[in-house]
Symmetry: C2
Amino acid sequence: MAETISNLSRKEQVIRMAAELFKEKGYSAASMRDLAQKLGIEAASLYSHIKSKEEILRTLCFDMAADFRASLLEVEKKNVSAREKLRLGIIGHVKVMARDLTASAVFMNEHRHLSQPYLRDFLLLRINYINRFKTIIEEGVSSGDFKKDIDTKLAVMTLFSSLNWMPAWFSPDSTIEPEKLGEQLSDMLINGLKQKV
Amino acid sequence: MAETISNLSRKEQVIRMAAELFKEKGYSAASMRDLAQKLGIEAASLYSHIKSKEEILRTLCFDMAADFRASLLEVEKKNVSAREKLRLGIIGHVKVMARDLTASAVFMNEHRHLSQPYLRDFLLLRINYINRFKTIIEEGVSSGDFKKDIDTKLAVMTLFSSLNWMPAWFSPDSTIEPEKLGEQLSDMLINGLKQKV
DNA sequence: CCTACCGATCGGTAGG
DNA sequence: CCTACCGATCGGTAGG
């Protein structure tokens, strides 16, 4: 029992350390010997906790994907306007990222190093998530919440570009709370920078 | 003479092919043997055109940086409102990226693999560029073009996040012109998605 | 979790 | 631009 518990937490340690290393140097440039050194063990010993380097990447990418999916599902259930759904969806996304900025950065920048068929599965999850945000924006255009003449594809790509780069420049010891940041991003996207006249 | 010309164009071929490879697989995962194969020569032969793998990365990153810098300088010279400067700056940035989307992607995602002191120099160039956009936004807040209560740092990070991810999803055979795309991005940032009431 | 080790591949050089 | 080759490092296994 105690052994199972400590094995689990050791495995989690390995994955967390690996996430930091993958974020810092990139997946390919991060070696298993680097990782072992960070943990104070020999490289060969890593393999009693994980099956392969790529298994770590898979865990990081698909766990984050599941969290994003769950967050969006909650928002979709709500009976609110498209504008409010978009706002809540953005805040939810930011909150999920803020829970683990390191894993978020790996999710964003290193997923391309997944091999098949995992890469394909990952990309399908991602396109599905993005399309569901696109649907919300389209609902907003139909309902009159948003302008008729916007390019919804461009809007949704702009949104995700902004969202996904957060891990790169959002400092974990920043004073701003994720909720507040999500609110500001949402406001900027919906209302723009322009002074109302 | 003819030798110099053909050497130059061969070197450019090497760099262009390398850019494609770096974009596709990432700098670390892209091997010099991959690159040689794409060019139909032996790996060792690459070194009569370039000094090292990193020299290629340096060329790609610093050439793009120079182009962005030149574009912004042109805009800063103009005697127009902050809102117009921001608009022109965005369009200029998009145009520079559109001239070479592959090199732009490498510039964005692979610069971290530069070694010192090049990495430091690169980051200084980038922060300078971003700060000059931030100054334009601050001018707009002072002049009343933009809202008083915006977080200018967040605004400029949002802007660059959107801009810089363009190479990842903008298809080169897209029907939309860079100028038009820059215009739309600029409009979205300044006016937002919201329907005017 | 360790020692000992493997085959593969890396960026790059010597010499032509 | 090639052949021949180098030392270093890679992810991972065997066996304890």
